[in-house]
Symmetry: C2
Subunit: 215 residues, 2 copies
């Protein structure tokens, strides 16, 4: 396809397409004349990925990390995914003192603690913020959050495509970021649902439906 068709199909403006080409994020098309080049579905797919990554707040250097990992994956898929996921925001400064809150939480949950994995710093930061506002993580809440989040993560991974390293990396990066706001919104709506049941009709048992269903 021509560049104009690539622009139409991707919804990315021509100037931005040219910029991605200059920056080497989008691979060049095949030249068909001095001023024309031909692009394929591979270009469209790459452009769609770059657009999606920019849309979830990744700056260009981080998009480059992901695109390069897709083009030249590490030896193990675990390594490739780890490096790709590390390119997601938020970008926190690593601290030399370690992450005591995150380590204690992960130890208690029986999960891997790798201080170099960026989500550890993110968890430390989030737990410290909860302390700061006077709602520190309790053991009970941690156990419950840990259990239910693990179940959610299992569903996420069960849907991960394995047909190519490219599709796996794309899914992991986009799925991680794009479902965080879904979870946040669902939690707020679950609060509303439970509060309506408890506060507007104190006699109602929010679990009654569920139990009837289990029978």
């Amino acid at each position: 396809m021509r560049v104009s068709e690539l622009v139409a199909a991707s919804g990315v403006p021509l100037a931005t397409v040219k910029y991605y080409l200059r920056e080497g994020l989008l691979m060049p098309g095949e030249s068909t004349s001095a001023t024309r080049a031909d692009y394929t579905d591979l270009h469209l797919r790459r452009l769609t990925l770059i657009k999606a990554l920019a849309g979830i707040g990744l700056p260009l250097p981080k998009i480059r990390v992901i695109v390069e990992l897709i083009d030249e994956p590490r030896e193990s898929l675990f390594d490739t995914l780890g490096h790709a996921l590390a390119a997601l925001p938020p970008y926190l400064e690593p601290v030399r003192e370690g992450y005591p809150r995150a380590k204690a939480a992960l130890d208690r949950l029986g999960q891997i603690y790798d201080p170099d994995y960026p989500a550890v710093a993110q968890l430390e930061h989030a737990l410290a913020a909860a302390e700061d506002v006077g709602i520190p993580m309790s053991d009970e809440r941690l156990r419950s959050y840990g259990e239910h989040v693990l179940a959610i993560a299992r569903i996420d991974l069960a849907s991960m495509p394995a047909r190519s390293p490219e599709s796996t990396v794309e899914y992991a990066v986009l799925g991680t970021a794009i479902y965080e706001p879904v979870l946040a919104a669902l939690r707020r709506l679950a609060h509303q649902h439970l509060m309506a049941t408890m506060l507007l009709d104190p006699d109602a048992d929010p679990d009654a439906d569920e139990r009837a269903h289990d029978r």
Copy 2:
């Protein structure tokens, strides 16, 4: 206490304290002379709340909404909480066309659908974004997310203090916002944990420990 002690205890700079006083967010202290006023623990608590709300990204007009709801709650706690929680970011424009994706998801989960509740617009937006990047919400994922998020919300509400409307509103607003990054970080770490188990040692069964525990 004097204003200097209020500054020291809250960690809020003097200029900012004065600004909050001028704006009426912080109630005036009791004048003890032409240039001095006396402040109490109530002032410190209010200041700590304003600081925490500003820290999670609320602009001043939204902080004012919450502070006013604490000072003059609505008739029902459900109403008061609903309005206070509606002051949290993100701030999306309401749309006239309704929220078809959010409505379908909530109907399927058997939860309340109230288009005026801001988390509905947030869910619609998040589900549309997931579609845009080619990872639309599946029925299976929705069912699983809904079930586990409801369990998480139940734990959140079980810890909600009821000793005063003020403490309930504070907990609801801060707890909603401050635990969203905790959940996001835990989910990323759960992915890492599961991937390590599955990809580095394909024979391992990540559920084995759990099942042994259940026995």
